[in-house]
């Protein structure tokens, strides 16, 4: 048995693969518990009713680190730097958040009073210019402890070229520091650029204790309930690592939830023949958008979590905007209707949840317009009647704008959709892609509520709604591959290398990766090993990625492949200048066995005809008027169902709004394919 569990801002989702149960799969959704995510995880597992001792692997995606950074709820962390350079992570590289507009603010992850300096200096060749002041390190470490720091980071200039001082300073710190939360700047990212490396290391240090505590508590709770293995934790690159080591490289777990959703989206769409996707995941607090080309999610190691917060480890390239079901609608000082980015989250949540929410949200607007069924909400018994929510909408949003309750709710959706459409344009159009060539893959609890309207606005012709849109991130946890990436700086002119050195490094990286994967307690079907090099012409600062066919490459092959890759990218040749082999890279990927997506919706529950799946009809607001819409139960739909909008499809984890003019078809995996009218 394998369980994938993803914790989102509002819900915690679980997918349990169990060959012994009917259908082979069980799905659970419970409310997240932001004060300690572990309660939600344990709750979800309890709900499956299964014996934890029987589970072979639990793969967990958590937002613990992402939230900690974005909300700056970080462990008190200190930094020790080269003398003269403690402000590197605060002053940055003289930027502003946007090209135009002389505004901007930035809060460093480690405040200035907790950044101390010691005498030491390496030069760019890795030679010692000023020896390490070891007493100075001791003093600084003690001072940070006295200041209440729980975690610390050592960040010295040119440590990528020679980490001796960083290593020694860490060794000294270990003698004094009461716990293991010591990060060395070069460990996570051994590349030059002191600001980016420093911020990445500072983020890592600041979230380590938080992630560690979280995992430790969860692991011990699981063990107490009979679970006998180590947890696996999702990373932002779409792969997973053992919980025992996850906290050491805690920064790699940033953005892991969205990454696993995109992995699941790519997997699902590929199974039904769609390789180019814009993924659109709308949850309770935010929406995430990503691009999938040729069934492969784009990965970048130059992403920034927000302005001036570069985290230079490989991550699936997901862009997030602050629009979710819980986004609060309000009238601003200028009398304009605004929606988000502030969110009512899971607590107090939208008004309609009855948990004390008083401000209208996107979810409330959807409810008032008949788009979601009040009985399907995770509402308490004390939830206010719709009439009351209508009245709040009328008073707070409608009255200042001169609108009635219905129009006010529709305006909230229009403003919210406009913002989300803009974010989608950013990842597709802005990268030179035409949205008309793509399929919009809608998921998250609220994605399918808005996807058809967005597709129409953007000119995207087709929307794919998977079997269980609300648990896609958790599904990503059980379909994602095991993945280990290795990078070694080599930095020699190609015509001066000994090719045997290169081959030895590749062989060693591959062996290390295989070993790591074989140690993981999870089945794999096959191991794939990819080799590559980062190269440049001598004198350049940027690198070009050159995939290499095997570890046994020759120098001539490398030269030819580099020249070809360079010409492909830049359309120029540079015979005048020598090539340099900067980094040698290996990725070892353990491929997981495929799962039967049709099982996401129990085939035996499906009805033979569409009429039997039609459970009700109700008035729903579309394009400025109330229209009678058929309500279908997703789980009852025949596997070959097709029908036209307007209609609503309800299921446990989401509601799908089919607009007038949309045409719906179902495929063999149980996905809904919606052709959007108005799109070409």
């Amino acid at each position: 048995m394998i369980a994938g569990i993803d914790v989102g801002g509002t819900f915690t989702d679980l997918v349990l693969l169990d060959p012994r149960i009917d259908g082979g799969m069980r799905l659970v959704k419970v409310l997240s518990t932001p004060e300690n995510q572990a309660f939600g995880v344990l709750g979800a597992l309890a709900e499956t009713g299964c014996d934890l001792a029987q589970i072979d692997a639990i793969i967990h995606g958590t937002t613990t680190t992402t939230n900690a950074v974005l909300e700056r709820k970080l462990a008190v962390t200190g930094m020790i730097t080269t003398r003269g350079f403690r402000d590197v992570i605060e002053v940055g590289r003289r930027t502003r958040p946007q090209a135009y507009g002389m505004f901007g603010a930035f809060e460093p992850v480690i405040p200035r009073n907790l950044r101390l300096e010691v005498a030491e200096r390496m030069d760019a060749d890795g030679k010692i210019v000023i020896p390490l002041d070891e007493d100075g390190v001791r003093g600084a470490v003690r001072a940070l402890l006295d200041a209440g720091c729980e975690s610390m980071v050592v960040h010295f200039l040119h440590a990528y070229a020679n980490p001796a001082h960083e290593r020694r300073a860490v060794a000294i710190a270990r003698e004094i520091w009461p716990n293991g939360y010591i990060t060395a700047g070069h460990e996570l990212l051994s590349e030059y650029r002191e600001y980016e490396r420093g911020v990445t290391a500072a983020v890592n240090a600041s979230v380590r204790p938080i992630l560690h505590r979280y995992i430790e508590r969860l692991q011990s709770e699981l063990t107490a309930r009979g679970f006998r293995r180590d947890l696996l934790i999702m990373n932002g690159n779409g792969g997973m690592v053992s919980a025992q080591i996850a906290d050491r490289e805690a920064a790699k777990t940033v953005m892991s939830g969205p990454a696993s959703g995109v992995m699941a989206a790519a997997h699902t769409a590929k199974c039904c023949g769609f390789d180019n996707l814009i993924t659109y995941d709308m949850g309770g607090t935010s929406s995430d958008v990503a691009l999938v080309l040729n069934a492969t999610p784009a990965v970048s190691n130059e992403l920034a979590l927000e302005y001036a917060m570069p985290i230079h480890v490989p991550m699936v390239d997901v862009r997030s905007i602050g629009s979710g079901g819980g986004s609060v609608a309000f009238i601003d000082d200028a009398g304009m209707l605004k929606v988000g980015p502030r969110s009512a989250g899971a607590a107090p949540g939208p008004i309609c949840y009855g948990r004390g929410g008083t401000e209208p949200t996107i979810t409330d607007a959807n409810l008032v317009l008949g788009r979601i069924n009040p009985d399907g909400l995770f509402a308490t018994s004390g939830a206010p009647p719709i009439a009351d929510i209508r009245e709040i909408l009328r008073q707070r949003i409608g009255a200042p704008l001169g609108l009635g309750a219905d129009q006010a709710a529709a305006a909230i959706l229009r403003i919210a959709n406009d913002r989300m459409a803009g974010a989608i344009r950013m990842v597709s159009l802005a990268k030179g892609h035409d949205p008309r060539d793509f399929t919009l893959f809608a998921f998250g609890g609220a994605g399918p509520l808005h996807a058809m309207a967005l597709a129409r606005e953007l000119g995207i012709p087709r929307v794919l709604v998977p079997g269980r849109p609300g648990i896609t991130n958790a599904l990503g946890c059980v379909v994602a591959d095991l993945r280990h990436d290795f990078v070694r700086t080599f930095n020699r002119p190609l015509d001066a290398i000994d090719i045997d050195d290169v081959r030895a490094i590749f062989t060693q990286q591959a062996a290390e990766g295989r070993r790591a994967i074989e140690d993981e307690p999870i089945d794999i079907e096959d191991i794939r090993v990819l080799h590559g090099a980062d190269m440049q012409f001598i004198g350049q600062t940027h690198l070009i990625d050159v995939p290499l066919p095997s570890p046994k490459v020759t120098r001539d092959t490398i030269q030819t492949l580099f020249e070809t890759a360079y010409f492909e990218r830049f359309r120029v040749e540079l015979p005048e200048i020598r090539a340099s082999l900067v980094n040698l890279k290996t990725s070892v990927i353990g491929q997981r066995p495929p799962i039967d997506l049709a099982m996401l919706i129990d085939p035996k529950g499906r009805k033979a005809t569409l009429d039997e799946a039609r459970i009700a009809a109700r008035p729903v607001w579309f394009d400025g008027e109330w229209r009678e819409a058929a309500i279908y139960a997703r789980d009852l739909l025949p596997i070959d169902a097709s029908f036209d909008g307007p209609a609503i499809v309800e299921q446990m984890d989401t509601t799908i709004v089919i607009e007038p003019g949309n045409r719906v078809a179902t495929d063999a995996d149980g996905n809904l394919l919606i052709h959007v009218e108005g799109a070409p």
Binding site: G84, F85, R86, D87, V88, E90, V91, G92, R93, R94, T95, R96, Q98, A99, Y100, G101, M102, F103, G104, A105, F106, P111, R112, N113, R121, D123, A124, V129, L157, H158, Y160, Y192, R193, E194, Y195, E196, R425, L429, A430, K431, G432, D434, P435, R436, L458, G459, F537, G539, Q540, T541, H542, I544, R569, F570, R571, V572, L574, E576, I577
Partner: protein
């Protein structure tokens, strides 16, 4: 032709933008010089085939190039028309850096490629890259003492560097014979060409997809919409005349401040800029060519209304009276090396200062407003080669209605990041001893200015010469609405342990530097916004805790008394001090 549908319009607009962004990215990624590769001191765009008017420009380009390439492209077209330049053929690329022909300074070298679609000239693809050297009196080109343009370097009229796809070896040889580090230029020239080639390929794909007619129609429609949008923004400014003054430290030769006097009149939906009363042309290199003066106004307005897209339509409602007889309209042979980097930012400062009272919620107090150019040229005996290191620096932004000013923001006219110290030290024989936040430099205000930085750099090998073209050494960036000015720029050179401060404070050239000598620079802080006595005392307490200000500064500059034990604000004493 029927009206273009909004989705297609959006797709084409974004597609054109993408062509430019891709050119920007290619240029930086393929470049060798860190000024371009790491600092992005370059720009790429698409220009009208007949008029040179701006069609689209990369978002990642340097803002100062906002308007300038349309002037240089227009001039090139005019030269071709009257026979001063050869007519274009497929595969040609022109090179030009003449500042008086729609340029900035000599180091900004423009390439222009006629773009043909199905054998018809459809538009021009142009780009500008800041070359690390262009010859002239000092390495790097920022001669602070030049009195004629010839001293500033090689000046190229529009000539074909590439003819039908082949580089002209004669033109190339002339260039290489006149600049320093010539053997390293080929990589950057090819990067600049690569950007144009990539742009041409992408643009061809876009045209194949939508058809030339549709794209042409979209360009026209987009231009109209940009003008309409700009007018809607301008409507927020009440009709009237708004005045301001800004000062350039000196021209580098004559040690007297240069005045920029600006009157902005808003009437009938348009705005009119008048620089009458500004200083006459100057002897040193702080003259501005007209294209740069125009661009400076455009970029300041774009900073105030950032959401208006950039194309020729954006500028239609802005009218600038030609500043004849002032240093803001330089003609041959006035030296101009400081115009793009420094005078432009004083012009922008004047625009901000004039409009901050009319638009206090969207205009800030003055930002540091200097590019902080520091060039170090010499010979590295270890690597056995000459070099020019070219270091830029940022400073504090102005406080504003929303928040305190940003610390170490980029120059007003740039977006380029500074080069990592680890990169500079890999390439050049220098060692940085400090790179830190400059305490106390943010101007006091209800919202304080952001902080500048301090850096100290030591020469490790060989001999070198240092040159500086900076500004705000005489007076700091202006505070607004009662805020204090930001700290002024400081340059000190320690030679043989003796401190030397340039006579013109922020400008000097050819300072001999020997092994072990140290150059120390402190960059300006941003102007404060609003009355410092109205600043929240808790914010002042926090600033002191972080070492931004001393306890004495809290008292003297913000009227906030802190408890001696460091535990918080002495509220009664603060109230007494502030009301007393």
């Amino acid at each position: 032709m029927k009206a273009i549908d909004p989705i297609t319009l959006g797709v084409i607009q974004a597609g054109l933008q993408q062509v430019c962004d891709e050119m920007d990215l290619t240029f930086s990624r393929a470049a060798f010089s860190p000024v371009i590769a790491e600092a992005d001191d370059r720009s790429d765009g698409i220009y009208d085939a007949k008029t040179g008017a701006l069609i689209a420009q990369g978002e990642g380009g340097l803002p100062i190039f906002v308007g300038t390439m349309q002037f240089s492209t227009a001039t090139l077209i005019e030269f071709i028309r009257d026979g001063r330049a050869l007519p274009p053929e497929k595969g040609d690329v022109y090179i030009v850096n003449d500042p008086y022909l729609g340029g900035t300074h000599l180091m900004d070298v423009r390439f222009a490629m006629p773009f043909y679609y199905k054998d018809v000239l459809f538009c021009w693809l142009s780009n500008t890259g800041h070359w690390p050297d262009i010859g002239g009196a000092v390495p790097g080109g920022f001669s602070a003492k030049a009195t004629e343009v010839e001293q500033e370097g090689l000046r190229l009229p529009p000539v074909k560097l590439v003819k039908r796809g082949k580089m002209d070896p004669e033109i190339y040889a002339i260039i290489c014979s006149n600049i320093r580090l010539a053997d390293q230029r080929i990589g950057d020239i090819k990067a600049q060409l690569a950007a144009l080639n990539i742009g041409a390929r992408q643009l061809t794909e876009l045209l194949d997809r939508h058809g030339a007619k549709t794209v042409q129609a979209a360009i026209g429609e987009w231009r109209k919409r940009a003008a309409r949008q700009m007018r809607a923004r301008i409507a927020r400014i009440p009709d009237g005349v708004y005045r301001s003054v800004a000062w350039v430290d000196s021209d580098g030769v004559v040690d007297e401040p240069l005045k920029i006097a600006l009157a902005i009149e808003k009437k009938c939906g348009d705005i009119y800029f008048d620089f009458t009363g500004s200083s006459p042309p100057c002897r040193g290199p702080m003259n501005s060519v007209i294209a740069t003066t125009y661009s400076s106004v455009y970029l300041a307005i774009k900073h105030i209304f950032p959401d208006v897209p950039i194309n020729a339509g954006t500028f239609e409602p802005l009218h600038i009276k030609e500043p004849d007889g002032t240093f803001l309209y330089a003609r041959y042979p006035r030296p101009v090396s400081g115009c793009a980097a420094e005078v432009s930012q004083r012009i922008a400062e004047a625009v901000f200062a004039a409009l901050v009272e009319a638009l206090p919620d969207i205009v800030t107090a003055a930002p540091a407003g200097s590019s902080g150019n520091f060039a170090l040229g010499g010979f590295d005996p270890q690597k056995d080669r000459p070099y020019v290191m070219y270091q830029l620096s940022g400073g504090g932004y102005g406080g504003n209605a929303r928040q305190d000013g940003l610390t170490n923001g980029c120059s007003t006219i740039g977006i380029s990041k500074t080069q990592p110290i680890e990169v500079l030290e890999q390439i050049y024989p220098v060692l940085f001893e400090e790179y830190s936040l400059r305490e106390g430099s943010g101007g006091a205000g209800r919202q304080r200015g952001g902080f500048g930085i301090n850096y100290r750099v030591r020469l490790r090998r060989g001999n070198a010469r240092a040159s500086f073209v900076m500004d705000h050494g005489r007076v700091g960036p202006q505070g607004s609405l009662g805020g204090e000015d930001g700290a002024r720029n400081l340059v000190t050179v320690y030679r043989n342990g003796e401190a030397y401060v340039p006579e013109h404070l922020s400008k000097d050239q050819d300072i001999a530097i020997a092994v072990g000598d140290v150059i120390a620079v402190s960059t300006p802080g941003g102007g404060g916004f609003g009355d410092p006595l109205a600043r929240d005392p808790e914010a002042v307490f926090r600033d002191v805790g972080l070492g931004y200000y001393t306890q004495a500064e809290a008292r003297d500059r913000f009227g906030v008394v802190l408890l001696d034990d460091g535990s918080g604000v002495d509220a009664p004493a603060t109230a007494a001090l502030r009301t007393g």
